[in-house]
């Protein structure tokens, strides 16, 4: 690597340094905009006892669900899980810990983590099981709970295009949690469909500035669809 060039040429290199027990923040919503090849690389590396922060946990044979096969995940921090039979089985057997977190709170935990804000107050979850044991403060007559932010040892992100400096743009709703995830990793790895030269992306249209990004790799993507819904054309 030279200067600001973040490009790596293998998935081994992309995930180098991932160890047992680490926390990995992953972008994606359902199967949309997930770093599918970086997840496959974690499966290949057989890293164990991972804490995964991601809105969902994929399905049985795609996305984060594949990390359940060899019980690589110790804990999931997610807003909605259980689209996979294996997940349900491991959860009921007590082999998997789940911290259910409201979706907006999860996004904000990542955003705050990346922005150096250790905690924030939100009305979301007050008076519900999510608020149990959390500090409550009243502002202007309304109750808020304190939520702590999240950072990860790694963040794994799926972008559309990046330049070699690690500036990233996302495509359509594949953006979702990816920009926040990108800010919150000690090592942020972005896989994209296309890598371009610096200057080819419009600076005003960059979603994730390269300062957050440590490694960029070009991948090829299956982009599986979870709920195929159509109208008659």
């Amino acid at each position: 690597m030279a200067g600001f060039n973040k490009v790596v040429n293998s998935y081994e290199e992309a995930m180098a340094g991932l160890e047992d027990g680490m926390t990995v923040i992953a972008g994606g919503f359902g199967l949309c905009g997930i770093p599918e090849n970086l997840i496959k690389q974690i499966r290949t590396m057989a890293t164990k006892d991972l804490t995964i922060v991601s809105n969902n946990c994929g399905i049985d044979d795609f996305g984060l669900g594949i990390l359940l096969v060899d019980r690589q995940i110790k804990k999931m921090i997610s807003s909605y899980v259980g689209e996979n039979a294996l997940f349900e089985k491991q959860l009921l057997a007590g082999e998997l810990e789940v911290e259910l977190t409201p979706q907006g709170t999860l996004a904000e935990k990542m955003r705050a983590g990346g922005a150096g804000i250790p905690a924030f107050y939100t009305a979301t979850g007050y008076g519900t099981p999510v608020g149990d044991g959390k500090e409550v403060r009243e502002f202007n007559g309304r109750h808020y709970i304190m939520e702590e932010s999240i950072t990860g040892d790694f963040a794994i992100v799926k972008g559309w295009k990046a330049d070699t400096y690690g500036n990233v743009v996302y495509r359509d709703t594949a953006q979702n949690f990816n920009p926040m995830a990108a800010t919150a990793g000690k090592i942020t790895v972005v896989e994209v469909e296309e890598i371009v030269e610096p200057g080819e992306l419009n600076p005003s249209e960059i979603h994730t500035p390269g300062i957050y990004v440590n490694r960029v790799i070009k991948g090829s993507f299956e982009k599986r669809i979870e709920q195929r819904t159509v109208r008659q054309g």
């Binding site: 919503f29 359902g30 199967l31 949309c32 905009g33 809105n55 997610s78 807003s79 909605y80 899980v81 259980g82 689209e83 349900e88 959860l91 009921l92 259910l100 409201p102 979706q103 907006g104 709170t105 999860l106 996004a107 904000e108 990542m110 955003r111 939100t122 009305a123 979301t124 979850g125 007050y126 008076g127 519900t128 099981p129 999510v130 109750h143 559309w160 495509r171 359509d172 709703t173 594949a174 953006q175 979702n176 949690f177 990816n178 920009p179 926040m180 979603h207 982009k223 599986r224 669809i225 979870e226 709920q227 195929r228 819904t229 159509v230 109208r231 008659q232 054309g233």
Partner: protein, 219 residues
């Protein structure tokens, strides 16, 4: 006759106003999009990061990068914008969405709502529901008035773990439209052919019944 799912969606759609930004939950709320009254424009917000959700794509238009919060493939309407999850929930939590429509298991006289967790059953998660109920001022809950066994879901106090506290003011059931105020349900309208007595019988929480309860009409 209790309202059909389509009639419930039709009734909710009458609450839409020109220029509203609206978040529709999964199930009956989704159907509301089919009954936007003529002559008004609304923009649908999908919490995965889309403001201006269009119809489902044709077979040729399908794009894995373009989904809604139900993970269904969708299109973007003209004038749509797409953004991150944090931006999306800033809109929701910041109170910028004009109307939120979502389902529930139970609501109570204090505006509490339970919609995400039944102890003993597999808990999949709350998704964005807790953010939506905490962030929105104008929420309509759509639900059946009573369970299949006739047990009321409009209660003095929710029995299931809550999604939000003190945040619900409007409820449309298959039997009635009610508003919640001052610790009671206020009966505003009844489904065609449904008697006030039936609604009273199936409402466990305190219910205020005015002398005249108009019947909903459907074209």
């Amino acid at each position: 006759m209790a309202l059909s799912r389509e009639q419930m969606a039709q009734r909710v759609a009458r609450e839409l106003q020109d220029g509203f930004y609206v978040n529709l939950g999964i199930g009956i709320p989704t159907l509301v999009a089919n009954y936007v009254p003529a002559g008004i424009e609304v923009m649908l917000q999908s919490e995965n990061g889309l403001l201006g959700m269009g119809p489902f794509p044709t077979e040729d238009e399908i794009d894995a990068d373009m989904i809604n919060a139900g993970k269904q493939t969708v299109t973007a309407a003209t004038g749509a914008s797409i953004f991150s999850s944090a931006e999306s929930f800033a809109m929701i939590r910041g109170g910028h969405v004009d109307l939120t429509v979502l389902g529930a298991f139970e609501v109570d006289v204090n505006g509490n709502i339970a919609s995400w967790m039944i102890p003993g059953k597999l808990i999949k998660g709350m998704g964005g529901a807790m953010d939506l109920v905490a962030g929105a001022d104008n929420i309509i809950v759509t639900m059946t008035h009573a369970s299949k066994h006739g047990e009321s879901k409009l209660l003095t106090e929710c029995s299931l773990p809550l999604t939000g506290r003190g945040c619900i003011k409007k409820v449309l059931t298959d039997l009635a439209y009610l508003e919640i105020e001052d610790g009671a349900f206020h009966l505003k309208e009844r489904a065609p052919g449904v008697s006030v007595e039936e609604i009273i019988e199936k409402t466990e929480g305190k219910l205020i019944v005015p002398d005249n309860v108009p019947e909903m009409t459907f074209a």
